[in-house]
Symmetry: C2
Subunit: 146 residues, 2 copies
Amino acid sequence: MTRVDDLHTTAAARLRAAGQRYTGAREALVVALAGAGKPLTIADVLAACPGVPQSSAYRNLAALEQAGVVRRVITDEDFARYELAEDLTEHHHHLVCSSCGRVEDVTIPGDLESSMDRTLDRLARRTGFAQVSHRLDLIGTCRDCA
Amino acid sequence: MTRVDDLHTTAAARLRAAGQRYTGAREALVVALAGAGKPLTIADVLAACPGVPQSSAYRNLAALEQAGVVRRVITDEDFARYELAEDLTEHHHHLVCSSCGRVEDVTIPGDLESSMDRTLDRLARRTGFAQVSHRLDLIGTCRDCA
DNA sequence: CTTCCTGCAAAAGTTTTGCATTAAC
DNA sequence: GTTAATGCAAAACTTTTGCAGGAAG
């Protein structure tokens, strides 16, 4: 079974667990997000999934998010972006260009990641907050805008 | 000169540098943000500044943001929040409750902060990205929702 | 007196929803 | 067959903008 089959099997299972179905439109959305290498806007998604109307894209992305297959990504743009849930991809962060708004995925060396995790764990413990996750983005200037 | 006077002097100077004026409405917005202890929504701001119409709030917050007095804060809600620019407040991060959406400011011990900064600096250097700033939020469950 | 700000109302943009129909299981 | 998904259009919501009048420097 290939990694892609695995992805679809997992997506279908999570939807089923939520009482929902893994339809063609939903599979198309997952394929688009899996191949992008960065979080996609609704416009990106619609371009990658011709024939899927906007309202279905919104509704299906919401369903996939509730099922834990997709994550809605926050940016400083005034529209949302979507990517696959973290446990379906490599752990990564985002580089956000403050000049052109471009967003790229970035993975960092394991030792940096674990140093970061240790720091965040200590931070969570000291604040008495039940930490579920963190959100870390680097905001700067991309190579094209520099 | 008190700290509050200082805040208003700085705000006025930054606006003036951008060719803009420190009017009563803008002062009211700054006072509201300075006293909140957390990033405010537009609704919060309007409640704290009676008589300021919505369009003026948006326009003035945008002007204050461009002048470097105010920062627009990104959350996973579908509306924006605003706080004073970081150099006008203590450096802090945000605790975001994934259950009720509540956002709180949090400051962390200096040693944790500098360990974090070192990690982020190394991260920026290795990615070849011109790092300007970072965005770090803790997302978890607040004391009321636990 | 020139430039910027204000306030109202209308518009623009993204996202959500009602409803009848179709598809999935 | 029963339940959920689809597609269209219309609505809801946050945010932006045009314009005429008023305030600031």
